[in-house]
Symmetry: C3
Subunit: 311 residues, 3 copies
């Protein structure tokens, strides 16, 4: 019944989806969340279908979450990582994936640094393409799990005040969150060091705010982005400890947070940087719940896409 | 019924098979090709059987094709790669595989550079051994998929003119193709730079030809071998571009190709070297069909072997 | 019925188990050994359960044995290796595993060099934890398979004379064997170069013996530990060849071995070092049988643990 409403073979970006389609994914995910609480956490929905996880950029959490989603849908699964695929020398990405498709693969879940790669491939291949993260552009299933968690905890997204804090500039999570949240009627504030805060988001109706207190004191949800300590981000602000004291949720800044506000983080968390340890483990944190919901959301996306593929 | 005719627990080289056995594999593969077109691409034929993919040399395509074949036969699968197996220090290959066999493994699919390794192991182990490529000696399932594709498109192999072009000297694909094609009654011509063209194949009844036009103008099938740019092959001919112009299928040389001749390539293709891009994607090319058929052929081989194992 | 007696969600060390619990594991494993001899080597016992193999230290044999055990129990399986997990930067082990648990994982099978890690995690996580080896501390499933093999071949462990020979100091296998064997009523002798022979085991009732003949001439079972040639062990004794002649089972020392004594080795064997080649392949050797039994024992452990998990 539900899948009749879904007509897309790909999930590339939330910008292509209507609010109704986003709601359909969230509703489908809610059903799969129930499956994951059963004694037998498995449904035969994708039995005899093949899903390839093609991760050109390394990833552990997202890949594991997708792989488990596929297993619980009873799909056949092939994992190809960057090191595996680099062995296919002298071949274009399109040729590699055309070859994979020729194995009667139904869905390719792909992480690739090039932002346009997913779109191009979705047009050239008849199998489904799911974007599992692409450079700094988008990470739609992460945004969907964030939105799912907010809706589950707060009832509705309409009018919800969501603050996203950190390195907005390099964050594919922030970009996808903003797109999805605005479609669902939420109000978004972004906050972070000025050097990491792209002002052009104002055009979309996002409030841009470089003062943490202003950003969070009315927020119903605070999504703290991860600082990529291993990358060059440190050059955008004086030091990690200064960043933590000004833009982290800690014993000081928690005073400005509403007592019923949710504290979110896409993980993996740098304890004591984005969120102080006792707060990350405290009653307002839904960080592990996000992980649980990610699995349900990915099951929902794969289920809907498989349902509208021809074969 | 069909599997009664099959009595071998191993597939090491096509030289050990009769034309009837080759035909049995092709017929079995044809059945599995139908399975791969179904909504549920899976049969329970190898349920409760264990297959180990033991790839001492790296490989992506062949391993993925085998792994998917095993999944669609419902086998339990263990993947061991060169890096994994190198961790088993101070142990001989035979000891490693004796240990694997002690886990009640049914079939070991092995890629190994040493040409004699598969034969030795097939004699020492009671589980089935499938050769997934061994140095420059043989690659029987690649040859089987090539032959399957020719038979499917051309009806019969009897009297079929097949030209194999490129680095014959180092190609396990060429070696296995020649053996299988001759058994099936095809006429084989090999062509390539003189330095890469072993004259001793003449003894087998193969036509040896260093002029491309002569080799291909009567060919019903042209199989273009991959140039291993990353290896030392370049030293066998002046330059890649010269090779491409003399031995590649391009806008010039396509003029000598019969309009209904098939153009094949084992992949991954170097576009513009062995085959010009528009020809590789054109109506005579069956390159992606070969990939599809490879899956069916591997399902057929594993099915036949599993059927004649004792347990 | 049988699983009612089992109440533990974790297997961290054999020291936590009673002789009855050890016997329950051995009896359960004996049932699964029968499954592994069937045509269809698979039971649905863990269908819809998820097991994560989290190997922070590399391992091939133990991981493959666990993975196959999980497949034959029909579990859903995620493999995470050291290289995979090192990608999760800036995160504690507890956070990594809390995240894994949030994916509704039932059991985590973990190899980790830190001896206390398994215990800590078993207290903090509600999913089951199985120790697949931890530094030099313990390797309970290896000990269980050793004990299973002895019981199967000798009928009972009560009063059985077991000699363990080699680098006792660094061996997690020896440590776990000793604990389990003493609980089951066996008499244990340890033997090896004085530098590798911890005298404190005497307190447990173990006979410590640096002369091989004295150690083995009354032994019903001789377990030869692997020399880690790649590690620094060589500095503990003059040379490998001297070690082999003094502490190896070879054409000379086999004269002191009772004709019905079992010769065991955890593998991978250094032929000609711990055991001479013809003896390793001879009638007294049960080395490959140990591999077979390891699979059955791991199936038994996973089955019992899954049966007492809440969900």
């Amino acid at each position: 019944m539900i899948e009749k409403l879904w007509t897309k073979k790909d999930l590339i970006s939330l910008s292509e989806l209507t609010a109704d389609e986003l709601t359909l994914i969230l509703d489908t995910a809610a059903e799969f969340k129930k499956v994951n609480r059963r004694r037998v956490k498995k449904v035969p929905a994708l039995r005899g279908k093949t899903v390839v996880n093609f991760f050109v950029e390394p990833s552990t959490r997202t890949r594991v979450s997708f792989e488990l989603a596929e297993q619980r849908l009873s799909a056949d699964i092939i994992n190809m990582t960057s090191s595996t695929s680099s062995l296919i020398k002298g071949e274009t990405l399109l040729d590699t994936l055309k070859n994979i498709e020729s194995l009667q693969v139904d869905i390719i879940v792909m992480r690739h640094a090039a932002s346009g790669a997913h779109k191009l491939l979705s047009e050239r291949l008849s199998c489904g393409i799911v974007n599992a993260g692409d450079g700094a552009h988008g990470h739609p299933t992460q945004a969907l799990l964030d939105i799912f968690t907010m809706r589950e905890k707060k009832g509705s997204l309409e009018g919800l005040n969501v603050a996203i804090v950190g390195d907005i500039l390099h964050s594919r999570v922030a970009r996808s969150d903003i797109i999805g949240l605005l479609k669902m009627g939420a109000k978004v504030t972004i906050c972070g060091p000025a050097t990491l805060l792209p002002r052009e988001f104002r055009k979309l109706g996002v409030r841009v705010c470089d003062n943490l207190r202003n950003a969070i004191e009315n927020a119903d949800v605070i999504n703290m982005l991860r600082i990529q300590r291993e990358r060059q981000q440190a050059s955008y602000f004086p030091s990690i400890s200064e960043y933590a004291s000004i833009y982290g949720i800690n014993s000081e800044t928690i005073k400005y947070v509403k007592p019923d506000a949710l504290i979110m983080h896409p993980g993996p968390i740098n304890r004591g940087v984005e969120v102080e340890s006792h707060i990350a483990d405290g009653p307002q944190s839904v960080i592990l719940e996000q992980v649980t919901n990610g699995l349900a959301v990915r099951m929902g996306v794969l289920y809907l896409i498989a349902g509208c593929l021809g074969n």
